[in-house]
């Protein structure tokens, strides 16, 4: 009774090295190539994602540029007189870049990656927003809301005191 077991198939095959196997791989099957192929695919994927992120980051960085044109057009529409419409547009032109600048980190958060260099898009984004801000300030100035003229500083200057005093007129009749 020494050999009750005639054959068995070991399903649990934990080893990956073929040297430890006693059974040969079926012909046409190369274990190594498969393993090699797998790692290449994942690497490719990662690269693509990084590329995509970079691309997106650039896109986001360039987004204010389109906005700039839009803003400029709106400003031209508003004219140079101070009223509700022009003030509204100007202030939105000022607030938008400021808000954008405050949230630079947040805007680029989804594109954060070890392999992606976000500095350049960030700089571009900041620069474009600064241009937008400049445009807003320029608009503010053209509306005459910035104290850059002499008139802004003297308009409430009281008249000077006079040293002499003179009175009189036609003698009372």
């Amino acid at each position: 009774m020494g050999s009750g077991r005639r054959w068995a198939v070991e399903f649990a095959d934990n080893s990956t090295s073929h040297s430890s196997r006693d059974i040969l791989d079926p012909p046409g099957f190369t274990r190594a190539s498969q393993e090699q192929d797998d790692s290449a695919v994942s690497k490719q994927k990662k690269d693509a994602e990084a590329n995509w992120k970079a691309q997106k980051a650039w896109e986001v960085a360039q987004a204010p540029f389109k906005n700039l044109f839009m803003m400029a057009f709106m400003m031209w529409m508003a004219g140079s007189t101070v009223h509700l419409f022009s003030i509204g547009i100007t202030f939105s032109a000022l607030l938008q870049p400021i808000n954008a600048l405050r949230g630079v980190a947040k805007v680029f958060e989804p594109y954060k990656d070890n392999k992606v260099d976000l500095l350049a898009p960030k700089l571009v984004f900041i620069a474009l927003n600064l241009v937008g801000l400049g445009l807003g300030i320029w608009k503010l100035n053209t509306l005459g809301l910035l104290p850059t003229h002499v008139s802004d500083w003297v308009s409430s200057l009281p008249p000077p005191q006079e040293v002499e005093y003179s009175g009189g007129g036609v003698p009372l009749y």
Binding site: A78, V150, S151, L157, P158, P160, E162, E164, G168, L172
Partner: protein
């Protein structure tokens, strides 16, 4: 989209730049304005009480007003104000339905319909020599079914048909130089007598046929001793005159062409007299009145030439003309003064021993003496005669007395306002009772609920009436305390009668009135009259427990060197704190820009000898004045000589009696205008209390122009001497108008401009750095208005923003007139449709609000004209930027917008002046226009940008807020419930 935005922007621009209208709605009339009608001091009064219809009295006044007053209440039925040159000489009633007025020295005769005051006819009676105007309306003289009116004026006697004013005949009587004194028409005869004097020594009597004017007889008789001038006609054929010495009475009889004189020595009639006698004008048949020393004597002429003294009273009393009663009797009213009361007696003309009526009436001391009495009778229920008298007081007020009572009184002194000053009311005291607050709260709520109804248009007609009543009679308006906005003030008004009134700006009522002691006739001051009013003490910072006061300045007599009188009057109570005088003559009053520790303003009074006297006379004031001595100057425009002189104030003057408060003046400069081509026509200076907010004017392109603002600017206009007369008296080539802007410290002419072919009258106002003046352009046959704006060139260099930011500029450092100002001016002229009586400019508390020029038009209305229309920077086609700045495209004439009449539908008859007073609220200015009428209103030249409008519905706001809070609460509860239900599901 593009189009839509553009259209939207254009619409916005339109709203932003559209002309603001200053008109008010119909229901706003009387909310903040009031109008009072007066007539002036009554000269003549004719009663019209025969008919059972409305009883009235027709009066003519010294303000040239003819009016019909309701005898029951003293209200004006109708009123006409004749021009200032059309002085009313006589009035009477003809045919029982026409009021006849004779005016302009007997050359204009008019008939007015008695019930409604419509003019029926007007006749111009032409003559050559000016003479005493006389009017005689016989009651029952009919010529060709027509009643005649006899008028003597300008040397001619005219018979005028009373029905249409046609001159039936006229005859010259003054050809020899006879001064006709009286027309006499004996009832029922065919002859009219005209009696007069020639050269004080000949008595002349004419007899004329009433129907044809044919001269029937002309008798005269010489009186070698000479007459004193006045003639009193006693009966139809007797007159009384005084000889040239005033000691002998001459009874003149002129019956049937024979003239005879009977002389009686006055001392034979009256014992112990000293002075000369004067005949007073009176109309009592058979009697005349004589004034000797301090008494008035009634003398009757009996038995053709005998004289008999009937009665004797003190001279300060008043006597009426005789009133004919039925049964050939005459009644005369006499008024005597008592202590705080007057005594009225009515006597029968032919029996002076007994009185028909003797009444004592309490009289306000502030009304002074009785000046005139007019008597009228009525039939009592017991068929006896009752009497009513109309009296004119020293303060020009008019009172009706009947049965010992004052039936009504009119404050007609207010028709002759000389000067106005505003005074603050007292500050509100703390501690208002709770009940009052509750009551007022309830009233407040009720009022607002009504208003709300009005806003929501659910008010019934009764409610509308109630709303209007609440608005008009707002208790806030007439309060005697200061308000937050500074709308409630006292207007201190000086009248020609020498009476000071305080009017409340809220409703125009008289708060107090006072007949000034200094302006009453006295032995030392024979002919006192008020000249001007000045702010004396106006506590704002210190001495707050002191009441504010005004300085009243008057003069005894009509010459520039007659003595002056001063009074200081408390404006809260009307008490005369102090009166000084008579003292030195006063030619100029110069309020100085300094106050002492009691906030009394220093005044410099310059007399005719050019000595300057300082008031108040305290050591402190002297100290302040001496510190500033070198910086005080004064100038005088001598219009008759055509010289403008400037003076400085020097050390104390050398007088017999040392006076520390008297200072010598020295000549500094003079400007002599060529007498053959220029005569001073008008001067104008800036108002002393005008506040200017800023020295810079910012133009649309952000550029700055610095205004030349000086308190020492004088605008002076001269016209060619030929062109002094009325418009049309000279050709354009002969006339020119020259305007000067002069610095009165140095005498430097800053600007000079000639308007060729223009002439006066010139009216001007100066404000901030601009001058607006009005004159007549002979070439264009139109009135013109010009504006001059003065800018400082020297300051224009201040362009460095950094310096201005850091404040290292010298724009606000004190400046001196000796530092050679470099100025440039801009000016522009426009046609203007109206002639202008007076001009003023709005004043506001801080000087930020834009200005309006107020014009008193010839139609006695006040027109507000925006300064924007008078801007020398106006061009025909302003650029977009200039339009945004508010520059109006240039037009050749100034527009008159009907809505900009400040007086809306009312007229300020006989408009003489406009005073503007700043309110505490910056946007608002108070305007007071005075003439025969008074008008007061509030103006907001840039609209009330700093307060909610009067009809703002606080209740609506409150209700809205409450409703919103309730809604929030309800929805919250609701949502909570719903959420809970959701959770249970």
């Amino acid at each position: 989209m593009n189009m839509a935005i553009r259209a939207f922007l254009l619409l916005l621009l339109f709203f932003a730049s559209s002309n603001p209208a200053y008109s008010l709605y119909e229901d706003q009339v009387g909310l903040m304005d009031w109008h009072q009608q007066y007539i002036g001091k009554v000269k003549h009064a004719v009663f019209h009480t025969q008919k059972a219809a409305r009883k009235r009295v027709i009066v003519s006044t010294e303000e040239n007003v003819v009016a019909s007053l309701d005898l029951r209440h003293g209200e004006i039925f109708w009123r006409h104000v004749l021009g200032p040159n059309d002085v009313i000489d006589q009035i009477d009633v003809a045919l029982g339905k026409y009021v006849i007025t004779l005016s302009s020295g007997g050359s204009v005769l008019r008939a007015w319909n008695l019930p409604d005051g419509q003019m029926v006819w007007e006749s111009t009676l032409i003559g050559s020599t000016p003479s005493k105007p006389l009017l005689l309306i016989p009651t029952n003289l009919k010529v060709d079914k027509d009643n005649l009116i006899f008028v003597y004026g300008n040397g001619f006697i005219h018979a005028v048909a009373s029905i249409d004013g046609e001159v039936i005949w006229k005859k010259e009587l003054a050809s020899e130089g006879i001064d006709v004194q009286q027309l006499i028409y004996p009832d029922g005869s065919e002859i009219i007598y005209a009696v007069g004097l020639l050269g004080f020594s000949r008595f002349d009597a004419y007899q004329l046929n009433v129907k044809s004017g044919e001269l029937l007889k002309h008798n005269n008789m010489l009186f070698p001793a000479g007459f004193s001038g006045d003639l009193s006609v006693v009966t139809d054929d007797t007159a009384v005159a005084l000889d040239s010495t005033g000691k002998i009475l001459v009874v003149i009889r002129f019956q049937d062409g024979k003239i005879s004189f009977h002389q009686t020595h006055v001392s034979q009639l009256i014992e112990d007299i000293s002075g000369a006698a004067v005949i007073l004008p009176s109309k009592i048949p058979g009697m005349f009145t004589l004034k000797i020393d301090a008494s008035v004597i009634f003398i009757e002429v009996i038995n053709e030439s005998k004289l008999k003294v009937v009665h004797k009273i003190g001279h300060a009393n008043a006597v009426s003309d005789a009133l004919s009663l039925p049964e050939d009797q005459q009644a005369v009213a006499l008024i005597q003064h008592g202590d705080g009361k007057i005594l009225l007696t009515v006597k029968l003309g032919n029996d002076w021993t007994s009185n028909l009526i003797e009444e004592t009436i309490q009289m306000d001391r502030q009304r002074g003496l009785v000046h005139k009495v007019f008597i009228n009778s009525y039939v009592r229920t017991d068929r006896s005669n009752g009497f009513r008298v109309l009296i004119v007081m020293e303060d020009h007020s008019l009172l009706l007395l009947q049965q010992g009572e004052i039936v009504w009184s009119r404050e007609d002194g207010l028709a002759s306002v000389i000067d106005v000053k505003a005074s603050e009311l007292s500050v509100e005291k703390d501690g208002v009772s709770v009940a009052k607050v509750e009551h007022s709260l309830f009233e407040w709520l009720k009022g607002h609920l009504l208003k709300l109804k009005g806003t929501l248009m659910i008010a019934t007609p009764d409610d509308v009436v109630a709303i209007q009543k609440i608005r008009l009679q707002s208790s806030e308006k007439g309060k005697m305390t200061r308000d937050h906005n500074g709308f409630r003030k006292l207007l201190i008004v000086l009248t020609r009668a020498g009476k000071l009134f305080a009017l409340h700006t809220g409703d125009g009522r008289i708060v107090w009135s006072r007949l000034l002691n200094s302006l009453r006739k006295s032995e030392t001051c024979e002919n006192p009259r008020g000249i001007s009013l000045h702010q004396w003490q106006d506590p704002h910072h210190h001495a707050l427990d002191e009441n504010p006061s005004v300085l009243v300045f008057g003069r005894c007599g009509y010459n520039s060197d007659s003595a002056g009188v001063l009074s200081i009057v408390d404006t809260y109570t009307g008490e005369e704190r102090n009166h000084i005088g008579p003292l030195h003559s006063i030619a100029h009053i110069i309020p100085l820009p300094f106050t002492d520790s009691m906030e009394q303003r220093l005044h410099l009074l310059v007399d005719a000898n050019r000595h300057a006297h300082l008031y108040p006379r305290t050591a402190e004031a002297l100290g302040i004045f001496q510190r500033e001595l070198g910086n005080i100057f004064w100038y005088a425009a001598e219009t008759d000589k055509g010289i403008l002189r400037g003076y400085g104030v020097q050390k104390n003057c050398v007088l017999e009696v040392a006076d520390d408060f008297c200072f010598d003046t020295r000549d500094l400069w003079s400007i002599v205008f060529p007498s053959e081509s220029e005569k001073i026509a008008a001067t104008a200076t800036r108002s002393l209390n005008e506040v200017v907010h800023t020295q810079a004017k910012v133009t649309a392109d952000q550029e700055v122009m610095y205004k030349y603002i000086s308190k020492n600017l004088l605008f002076l206009a001269t016209v060619a001497p030929k062109a002094i007369g009325p418009i049309g008296s000279v050709t354009p080539d002969e006339s020119s108008l020259v305007v000067y802007v002069i610095d009165t410290v140095t005498g430097r002419i800053l600007h000079r401009m000639t308007h060729h072919g223009s002439q006066g009258p010139v009216k001007a106002v100066v404000s901030e750095n601009w001058i607006v003046y009005h004159y007549f352009n002979l070439r264009a046959h139109r009135y013109e208005m010009s504006v001059i704006e003065i800018y400082d060139q020297a300051r224009a260099e201040n362009k460095d923003v950094l310096k201005l930011v850091l404040g290292t500029h010298n724009l606000t450092s004190p400046i001196t007139a000796y530092s050679r100002p470099e100025v440039f001016t801009k000016s522009q002229s426009y046609f203007f449709a109206h002639s202008v009586k007076t001009m003023a400019v709005t004043l506001t508390a801080k000087g930020i609000t834009s200005k309006q020029v107020l014009l008193g038009t010839i139609g006695d209305q006040v027109l507000a004209l925006d300064k924007r229309f008078l801007d020398p920077r106006r061009t025909v086609n302003p650029t977009q930027a200039e339009k945004e700045e508010g520059i109006i495209p240039l037009t050749d004439s100034l527009p008159i917008i009907p809505q900009s009449y400040v007086t809306h539908a009312l007229k300020v008859e006989g408009l003489r002046g406009i005073a503007t007073i700043p309110a505490k609220l910056e946007s608002t200015t108070l305007v007071f226009a005075y003439g025969v009428d008074l008008f007061f209103t509030r103006l907001a030249p840039s609209r009330t940008y700093d307060s909610l409008t009067e009809d703002f519905s606080y209740a609506l706001l409150l209700i809205t807020i409450v409703a919103l809070i309730v809604a929030i609460f309800v929805t919250w509860v609701w949502s909570e419930k719903k959420e809970l239900q959701e959770k249970w599901r």
